[in-house]
Amino acid sequence: MERDADTKKGVRRTALILALVAIGFYLGFILMGVIRS
C-alpha cells in the first residue's frame, strides 16, 4: 500500500491517542474500585 508521510504520521498519532484512551479507561476504573474499597 502506498502511503505518504503525512498519512503515516496521522495514522500513528490517532492510533497512539486511542490506545492511551483505552488504557486510561481501564486503569481509571480499577483505580476507582481501589479508592472505593
Binding site: E2, T14, L18, A22, F25, F29, I30, V34, S37
Partner: protein, 531 residues
Amino acid sequence: MTTAVADTHEGHDDHGPAKGFTRWLFTTNHKDIGTMYLIFSLVMFFFGGSMALIIRSELAQPGLQFVHPEFFNSMTTMHALIMVFGAVMPAFVGLANWMIPMMIGAPDMALPRMNNWSFWILPVAFGLLASTLFMPGGAPASGWTMYPPLVLQTGDAFPFLIFSVHLMGLSSIMGAINIIVTIMNMRTPHMSLIKMPLFVWTWLITAYLLIAVMPVLAGAVTMLLTDQFFGTSFFLAAGGGDPVMFQHIFWFFGHPEVYIMILPAFGVVSEIIPTFSRKPLFGHDSMVYATASIAFLSFIVWAHHMFTVGMPLTGQMFFMFATMLIAVPTGVKVFNWVATMWRGAMTFETPMLFALAFVFLFTIGGFSGLMLAIAPADIQYHDTYFVVAHFHYVLVPGSIFALMAGAYYWLPKWTGHMYSEKAGKLHFWLSTIFVNVTFFPMHFLGLAGMPRRIPDYSTQFADFNFIASVGAMGFGLSQLIFVYVLLTAKKGEKATDEVWEAPYGLEWTVPSPAPYHTFDEAPMLPERAGH
C-alpha cells in the same frame, strides 16, 4: 541496487492473494479479514443458537425433562456470551472491514497487521470459553452479567471465563482503533466527514464507544479475578467491598455495549432503504446528529439496569429521565426511515424485506424499552420475561435482521453473483414469522409474573412457553436456508458493478466481485456516492 524501482506492494499481492491455508492465517487484506469475521460469526451464531434450542426445549413444558438446573444456567450464560461477543459483534466488524474502506475510497484499513490479530484472537478466545463446558464445575453459570458474589462460585472455569473476556475485549479495542484511524486518516480527500455514508458514520461512533467501554469491562473482570485469587475485596462485603459497585462498573460498559450492537445496524438499514426506495436517505445530517446523541446519552443511563438494587431516589429519577430521553433521537431515526420510503418507488428484494422488518420490529422493541424506562413500572418488569422479550426484539429482528439485510445487500459485491432471491425471500418470511412467534408471547409471560433465568415454571406459564419454544425451533431451522443461500451464492447470474438499480455509495463503482485491491488511488465521488 534497485532503488530506482519503488516497490509499493508486498511481493505476493501483485498477483492476487496467496494460495491455501496460509493465505487466511497471514492475510492483511480487509476483504479477506472481513470474510473471516463473517464466517466466524455465522458459526458462533449456530453454536449460540443451539444453546438457545436447548433452553427452549427444556422450557417447552413445566417440569424438568432434559437438563439439570446448573447446566440450564450454563446454557443461558453461554448463549448470551456467545451471541453478544461471538456472533453479533464480530459480524458487524466483518461488515465494517469489508465495506468501510470501499465506502470511503481507501485501499485498505489503516493498520492491516493489527487487523489480522484482531480477528485471530477470537477463535482462541472462544475455544477457551467453549472448553469450559468440559471442566469440573461446568461452564460459567452466573449469567453473562457475571455478578459477584455468585460468579465467584464458578468452578475451574472461572479464570478461563475472565481470560476469554479479556481476549474478546482486546480484539474489539484493536478493531475499533483501526476503524477510527482508517476513517480519520484515509478517506478520499473529496469526502468530508459529514458527507460520509451512514454506515461509516455509525461505525465511527460505535468505535468510540468501544474504546471507552471495553476497557471498563476488562477492569471489572480484572477486579473479579483479584477478588477470587489475590485477596482483594472490591466486591466482597466481608472484606469491606461492595457487590453493587460491580453492577455499576459492568453496566457502565453494558449499556453502551447494547448501542454498540445496534448503531451499525442503523447504519446498514440507512444504506439499504434509500437504494430500494430509489430516493436519498431523508435527513442524512440529522441522522448523523441523532446517532451521536444516542451514543452520548448511552453513557449516562446505565443504572436503569439496577432500579431494584437499592439506589437513592434522586439516582433513580435521574436515570429514568435520561433513559426516557434516548427515545427521542431513536424516534427521529425511525421517522427519517419512514420519510425515506414515503413517496419513493419501492421494490422488495430480500435486503429491503429485512430492512423493513427491522424498522417495524426494532420499533416494537423500542416501545418495550420505553416501558422499562419508567422506573416504578420497571419494578414489575425487572428480571422477568418482559425484559427478555425486549432485548430479544432489539437484538434479533433488530441487530440480526440488519446483519442479514447487509449480507444479502452486499453478497453480490463480494461474490460477483446474484444469490437465490427465492431462497432469500423464504428465509426472510420464515424468520420473521418465527421470530414473532418466539418472542412476542414473552411480553405476556413477564407481565404475568414469570422471572428470568429459571429452568422450570409454574403451570400457568405453560401455554405461552410452549408457543415460544415452537417458534424458537422454527426460527433456528429457518436459518439453515441462509446457509443454503451462502453455499449456492456463486451459482446465480453474474452481478454488475451496480448490482441493484441505482444504489448509493462508492462500493457500487467497483466491479463485482470487488477486486482484491480497490481504490489504490483515491477516487472522485460519483453523483450517487453521497447521500
